[in-house]
Symmetry: D2
Subunit: 408 residues, 4 copies
């Protein structure tokens, strides 16, 4: 039994699937549809989405196309990288981090347009449905959510194509279109399906769309310098860049040098294991560089606390809990730690490798040869180490003495 | 005021520093000295150490030279790698993991020889003094510990050389001897000092002694296959290898392909930051491979629990608490998780990169296309996702409704 | 559309609700019903359940009534108490810990009787449905699960009574029957509903069925002694007791002295907050006593690690993940820590208070006045504290010096 | 060899021990002494300390006596209670939390008076030396620290008395003076030494100085109401109180009703176990009340994250790391969680028991019978539970199916 829906905001890419959803929403729910298409750096023209929406009968004032690239990098990607976030030891969360922003803006557009519902094109077996819907509900708990893939019976490519044909939805033939299920934004591009469903099979080289392979990357290494302020990269080779420009520039460097490919099996929030391939060229550089600038500017115990909290923080983002209270708590702790993370890192990029070759901070350098070597008598007395070790060992010593007393 | 010491077991390398210590112990403590030289894969001949000890007046029955390579890899390196251990996001703990074994064996030799003291050549500013002494005390809390570097006034290279000259200790001139402070074992080799004291300076290429640089590594990738049993690598390209042989073979592969160089600033247990360069060729391959085999055989929540415990486990090892109760607790949890970590991983090695290109398990594969795709109706119903999301979001929904009620 | 079910094992109490379920299963699924009634110390006669089942047409060989009290305490309650488990700072998990055992035995009886389904009487808004079903699936992932409360439309007391009347299910009038929704086992009794739905309202005194109120407890304190082996209580006032007998005896003591009442609002796994009142007399004594025996026998860092893991372990049990890999991992760590938790604790019980007045261990006492006071020179040198503090403070000192240098 | 000291600020109580230290500093270091006496609610007159200091030759302008009670409760006690902090499951950290404030103010007075050193009266075997010195160094890393107990040889009561006699330090005979080693402030009073050195011995009743025993407390319960704002108690029975007044009033209530006695063995940072008895009457009430107000106003996962972080936070405070970066990080996370912790709690106090009998919040109540019961169809659909359970169990189901396939 369908719920009553007056107006729905659809996360709309202009592609076949969301065009079918658009039509299906109109037909099944008999409701007004608002389309929302966000530029988060996926690298596709957005005006075709407008044209397509108009073709499908959407009123011009109901078409929202917005450039969210700066907000995406500034308020989502950078805060996440402050935590050195990695999911399951490998994945840089490129898809996960984009969903909350799209969901949030979609919920806001629902408020602007008086819509009572939102809809997305994520399937019922993946993580993205959760991330979208957590985002919607985190912003407005009253929204009706329509997840067509969980409702309809168009559960095969054939049925979809038949539905499209029947409803006059034209299917563009893009030259060189990938057969994989893909997602892209300024942070990464991902691939799923086909040969990847066998975790023991290697994908063919031309699956990868962004990066050169390490083999095909230049034979000449390239050296770059990134400047950090409060844990965020702000300068590239001395030039101040906006967040999105920074990530864009690092992506270009990474793509050129074969950096950031990843082929993993990951654990989905909905319970099964899943194979994914990812390219995160700029993010891979940022992770290495951020650890390097922290290595000279961040206190040891702050760094260790961050490392212990990180897997949990990564899991929250992966599972879609960006707008949940516990994520805000962790972010508050992480951001607190970044006040002194200022300085520059030099990196060498070469055929898939990101190598740190220097780190410096004029203001917050806690590595200081003066303290460690020359003025040693003032700051560090080797004899202190004896007491330090003895008291750290005291509980072991007492336990050992007790064991002997017991003849153990 | 010197403590009374009857007999001391010295961790003896045969090199200049520990030879000076040997002499100094005889002179200062007027005690019998037992030398202990362990082969943990540092790649040096051990017989010269025997010769040297005899020259310095050690009785033949007081010279212990032992091959600990298999024990080292089986009981220390492999258990650590089961946890995917990394310290501060980068360091594979190559030095840290060897110290407890040396300390333990040294304490055992003290018991065998009736010695009341042990001594080591680690300085008073580093981590190794802690690791040695925690090891001694974890095994026998009654041992007297002599740490010459914290006691004597030979605190410069000149004074050391003068002492050696005065006491007739000959200094071998090794061809091509590194000027860096180094440590090596079957897992890694490390470098400290000199140019590395400036974290903004890159070391010269010929500092690195083990690995080819990525630039100089072969232009041809190499594909290998590692077989795992209970989380430990046991087969290389189908051939069963002992623990030490496995690590040795992986080292050769890693060295050839420019794998496992690391240049970092780390936080020492004694409180300061320190620059170190490391080569861990085989270990770098093992870390990647172990994560890959776990990715298809290990339960999600077991994997996440391991990830959350790992930084703490790494810190324990780094700080020298291998024989402490909390390390045994963590090891029990980790080992429990590895019972089903069985299968094979295929890897591509190329110019510094270790790329996973396949993983399989005939017995414990939890990634199964059958479950995920074909038999979907039996195991996974997309409609279940709606209830899953709704109840996961319920707390956010209730909070949102309360906010609205409050007009927030 | 109903699934095909051949034979179902029902967790059957003999009460009205599960009797209605029994009938409903027969009618709706047209299947054979096996009843399983476990004695886990809920304090009710079980033979009436047999009589009732026979009345409802269950074949005698399909009626399973089993005494699981010893298994319950030995394999579930005691392992949990080794961890000092408390959920959300207050709740001793009395209901949560019993469900996995019932579910496991129910799944085993399904195997014994060739049943393909299991059923329980927990509602769709609570935690118990999750705990039962996680238990079933953890033991046998192929079982069909029937949760009548989520399927039928008997969603009010009136409809239930009408259904009972229509199907000839007689309703016993128990004298003094509680109007609250209750659950009891050897560890605790719980109350939900009615006045408790207002978290600002206090329940009336006669809601509580087990314990005396502190006000009505004896004016005379009572002193008891509990002996521990490997973290489990085995001796009460010098007398060795089986696990269930121990808990039974401690319950009697606690009930007499007004110990173990709790009135809380807790967070359910399914997402909402819920008010519950609990009586856990023996458990409250055990928690206090176990911490006390650990205080003299357990290493500091082992104890701290346990404390940090405990909330997570408690959450796993609360949420029903007893048979999940991560619970086994944590249990392995906890059990490892308990090897030396041996000794005796003396406690004073008085009007709701459990006061520790002594703890001793002849074999594993790590508190030893000899070490701490008299032989101080051998084990502890006050001057060591200086080095200990200095190196612990070193990172703060260096940061402070850097701030000054920067004029901050 | 004594360091050169010009002027030292001494944490001065006016008692015998710190008077001897005062004299000893003058004699040994030949330096000017500034005394600092803080009122943190220890319940003693401070003017006698001034008189005593003048007798010992301190210049009036070098005598600092300050009332820090409000700062103590507002900036130290309350932030700590926001975290529901307990060390090792029992201890409310009454001594630990006062040291950083004293140390900080002492370091500030050093800056005001141009002193280059600070000194305290804590011994070399306890935690307080660490807490004082971490505090000093966290505020000003250049301060010279003089810890007389680690330097002098006055290591027995007799030697101290002899020193006092020799230097004309008069010893007041206070009537009813406790023979125990004690520490008091507005949060608690502690006892160490004498019979407490045997963890199996119970202290005599008149050791306890603040609280009535449960046995001697009134036979009549008393009901109180505490109002919370952002996690801090601000209203008592409807009356707004300053932080110090609130704690003072709760102490009076707790003392009257026999609340807050504790007798434990704890693990010191310096490595040994130690017996302590504590009275924390108001703090014990606050802990219970804070958990209760959180139970209806705090999100589940925020609460669980707090519970998992708490042992670590407690350890930081116990060990003296109040001014360390990782404590600031944790505090940021905790404070973030408290924004909605607003409302009132009703408690019943009776003979050692603190019983919650009601909690309410007009603005932030997340427990709402409307959501949970009446409007259930809108917010909670029981059928959602099936999907929720199935996907939570999916990993167990898949593992189970794999086991069967393997014939395990």
């Amino acid at each position: 039994m369908k719920r009553e829906v007056k107006k729905v905001v659809l996360a709309y890419s202009g592609g076949l699937d969301t065009s079918i959803i658009l039509k299906w929403l109109q037909d099944e729910y008999n409701c007004e549809v608002v389309t929302f298409t966000a530029d988060i750096g996926q690298g596709e023209e957005l005006e075709p989405a407008r044209k397509k929406a108009i073709e499908l009968g959407i009123k011009p004032e109901n078409i929202y196309i917005e450039d969210l690239k700066e907000e995406f990098v500034r308020d989502y990607v950078f805060p996440m990288f402050r935590a050195n976030t990695i999911y399951e030891g490998e994945y840089l969360l490129g898809t996960s981090i984009a969903r909350p922003l799209i969901a949030k803006r979609q919920a806001e557009i629902a408020a602007l347009t008086g819509a009572d519902a939102v809809s997305h094109g994520a399937t019922g077996k993946g993580n993205d449905q959760v991330r979208f819907e957590m985002g919607y509900l985190g912003i407005n708990s009253d929204l009706i959510i329509i997840a067509p893939w969980r409702e309809w019976d168009l559960n095969s490519r054939e049925k979809l194509l038949a539905y499209a044909a029947k409803h006059g939805i034209t299917i563009e033939k893009k030259p060189n279109k990938s057969p994989y299920s893909m997602d892209a934004n300024l942070l990464h591009i991902s691939y799923e399906g086909l040969v990847l469903e066998d975790p023991n099979a290697e994908p063919e080289e031309d699956m990868w769309r962004w990066t050169a392979s390490p083999e095909n990357a230049p034979d000449q290494a390239e050296i770059i310098e990134i400047g950090y302020e409060k844990g965020d990269p702000v300068l590239l080779n001395g030039q101040r860049l906006s967040p999105a420009s920074m990530l864009h520039a690092l992506n270009e460097l990474g793509c050129k040098h074969g950096i950031g490919r990843l082929d993993i099996v990951e654990n989905r929030f909905v319970g099964m294991k899943s194979r994914g391939c990812y390219e995160t060229p700029g993010g891979t550089i940022m992770l290495k560089a951020h650890r390097a600038i922290e290595s000279i500017t961040l206190d040891r115990e702050a760094a260790h606390l961050k490392d212990e909290l990180m897997p949990r923080y990564a899991k929250l983002i992966y599972n879609g809990f960006w707008f949940a209270p516990e994520r805000y708590m962790l972010q508050a702790a992480i951001d607190k730690s970044q006040e002194g993370v200022n300085g520059t890192v030099r990196l060498k990029l070469y055929k898939g490798n990101v190598m740190v070759i220097g780190r410096d901070s004029t203001t917050d350098n806690l590595f200081n040869a003066d303290f460690c070597t020359f003025e040693e008598d003032e700051v560090y007395n080797q004899k202190d180490a004896e007491g330090f070790i003895k008291l750290n060992a005291l509980r072991l010593i007492i336990a050992g003495k007790n064991k002997k007393r017991q003849g153990k």
